[in-house]
Symmetry: C2
Subunit: 121 residues, 2 copies
DNA sequence: GACACTACTTTGCATTGCAAGGTACATGGC
DNA sequence: GCCATGTACCTTGCAATGCAAAGTAGTGTC
């Protein structure tokens, strides 16, 4: 079931990590493992998709001990898309929560208004 | 993109609606439309899946004006599964939020502790 | 009967996770 | 040198589950 929940969120999570620091794909897998998991079989096609969208660029860095690393950096377009995804995510979470418990959802909406990062709907 | 976000959540949302009142599939579509959308092509196979899992039972009710309606009712097993799904959903949301903004996520975790419905992790 | 609405159903497709398999490079042990 | 291990990259087949589109059936209205 978790796998299905993840669909649609991993791109955004990867972009969010890259917004904080450039990474190579293998490193992203371990950085993400702290909070959630993404498999290697997923991350490479995913990075390719992000690149095709123009959301990331790549550069190679020689490694002192091992193969060279292909780093990914967020583009301005990618940063913009990440912001839009985050808005969509928040709206989506609110929608689901309003289905699960309409009363609790309105409390969550209040908490969101008090969140400095949040945007008033 | 929204479509992918929805994957994994619709079963839970449908169970949540049924927890509040029995419904027939077509009605579920319109009840859900208030907060989020589910297409007809989705809801019927989904109801079949829920039934196969033993989470819902069905009964037929003659309609005064139109074809008879196939109502779905939540079973005790379904109610249990719904509760488990909700726990998983909350954990998942927290995970994603912690990736998006590690600091804001810890604030959300505090808000969750103050939520009477919440469960302390 | 034709049309619109309600209610149900199926099917093909697109998308995107995962697991498994593989390649290449560097290092260390035998 | 050969093998094992770890790092880093990559591909492929599959499963699952949304959606759109097509269809059927019952009822009411014109």
């Amino acid at each position: 079931m978790k796998t299905q929940l993840k669909k649609g969120t991993l791109e955004m999570c990867v972009l969010a990590l890259l917004a904080r620091a450039d990474s190579y794909a293998y490193e992203l897998v371990s950085r993400l493992a702290d909070c959630m998991e993404i498999s290697e079989g997923t991350v490479y096609p995913l990075m390719r998709r992000l690149q095709a969208e123009g959301w990331v660029t790549t550069y190679l860095v020689e490694s002192a001990s091992g193969p060279s690393r292909k780093y990914y950096a967020l583009t301005a377009t990618g940063r913009q898309s990440l912001a839009e995804m985050q808005v969509e995510w928040r709206e989506f979470v609110a929608e689901v929560n309003s289905v699960l418990a309409p009363q609790a959802a309105s409390e969550a909406a209040q908490a969101k208004r008090n969140n400095p990062q949040g945007e008033v709907e």
